[in-house]
Symmetry: C2
Subunit: 232 residues, 2 copies
DNA sequence: CGGTTTGTTGATCTCAGTCAATAAGTGTGG
DNA sequence: CCACACTTATTGACTGAGATCAACAAACCG
């Protein structure tokens, strides 16, 4: 039980789009509110259509966000990581959640009730700013997703763009992109709006063309530029 | 030249997701910064790939936001109206614009330079909050768009969902949705990810089925629930 | 072990994109 | 007012990409 991130003040998670990127005084205050939660892989953090009565700050682990349509088809919205906030947009809009969040790994979260969070936002001016930056970052990602879905006409284009987006978000920014790909073909299909079988076929094609290398969960895109020019 | 909205303090635009929904003192300050711009229909407010060096608050008129892919296909992101802010997410993320904004009518805008806006945000705590709420609202809309694009498999589903989304955003919330539809078939196609011809065919089909009534720019969806259950 | 999820490949079929031709509307200038 | 150009809408025919169905292999797991 020692390894949970216990202290916002000493926590090293401070990316540029990280919600916790606050002034020292405000971090102190953040430390005093909310409660810590530890979840095992596969647990549900928040559920579509439920009321947004609290927000969760991700301290450790990755969390899959999905949105579903009436007939059960899924869209993988994004994979949230440390520094992200879950449920914030729904809470601010005072509407029900439109996404389901499910842990992929062991996760540490900080849960903050609605009233506490709003009070926190009123109390320090950098909270609103940080929330805005955080949501703005999510928004830009969502925009890329929507554009990809709307404008890539071919299945190859959709899958290639989805892989490139993922790799650029997750991996190092070198010439060849290398990253973990924990999703099944079915889930990749959900991201790109394709069927499971089509994902299999296309990955095979990409591999034969030398655009994708696969080794278990490890995925490498050796020539992202070429991939983009060919299919996107 | 009298009709331009000249004063933030007396301006009546104060929706729940409106950026200008600020405390009186902050509105006073807003009034003192930035400069007013009037644009005619069809003019460009901001351009994809340009730097986000200012934000625009929409005071009057409607503005079409589009995102384009490498091969020139368009996605209509949304139609912005009074109280919306343009360019805010790009400015906060310090990246180039990912959308192009073009006026549909005569528009009054308030332009605020990057530095001024950031200073404004630092000066009053409700600015950050209001910005966060504003972006959160855009985010939710973007999420709906992406979900629609990803999960509606059939063309009819995509178009029906696009029309329903549009009507619910724009029109009254009664049993039958009635609203202005200023978009051409081509543009509707861009919203839903369809070709122009398919839009024509589907609108004809919907009309024959009594799901859509058209009279010039006026569009009525007499049975949104039925439409949703049939196609979404 | 058996059962379930995941990956792979082939065959078929349908939906919607594309091409083409035409009509209808809209504005412009003579 | 008409001729003209241009945009937008409409309909038909064709075709191809990808979903679906089906069968099976491989991995995973209690």
């Amino acid at each position: 039980m020692q390894s949970a991130v216990q202290n916002c003040v000493t926590c090293p998670v401070r990316g540029p789009h990280c919600f916790c990127n606050l002034s020292p005084a405000t971090v102190q205050e953040l430390q005093t509110i909310g409660s810590r939660v530890r979840l095992r892989p596969g647990e549900t953090v928040l559920r579509e259509d439920s009321m947004a009565d609290r927000v969760y700050v991700v301290c450790r682990g990755k969390i899959k966000l999905t949105a579903s349509s009436a007939d059960g088809k899924l869209l993988i919205v994004r994979i949230a990581g440390p520094g992200d906030v879950l449920g914030l947009t729904s809470l601010l809009n005072n509407v029900r959640h439109k996404v389901t969040a499910e842990t992929l790994e062991i996760c540490d979260l900080k849960a903050i009730g609605r009233a506490d969070f709003l009070a926190f936002m009123e109390s320090s001016r950098d909270v609103g700013r940080s929330a805005a930056v955080s949501i703005a970052w999510e928004y830009e990602g969502m925009l890329l997703t929507a554009r990809r879905l709307a404008t890539s006409s071919s299945a190859a284009g959709k899958l290639a763009t989805a892989l490139l987006d993922w790799g650029r978000m997750d991996g190092a920014g070198g010439e060849s992109l290398e990253f973990r790909m924990p999703l099944t073909h079915e889930e990749l299909g959900s991201m790109a709006g394709l069927s499971r079988e089509t994902v299999t076929r296309l990955l095979g094609k990409f591999r034969r063309e030398g655009l994708v290398e696969l080794d278990g969960e490890r995925m490498v895109l050796p020539a992202p530029a070429k991939m983009e020019s060919l299919y996107c």
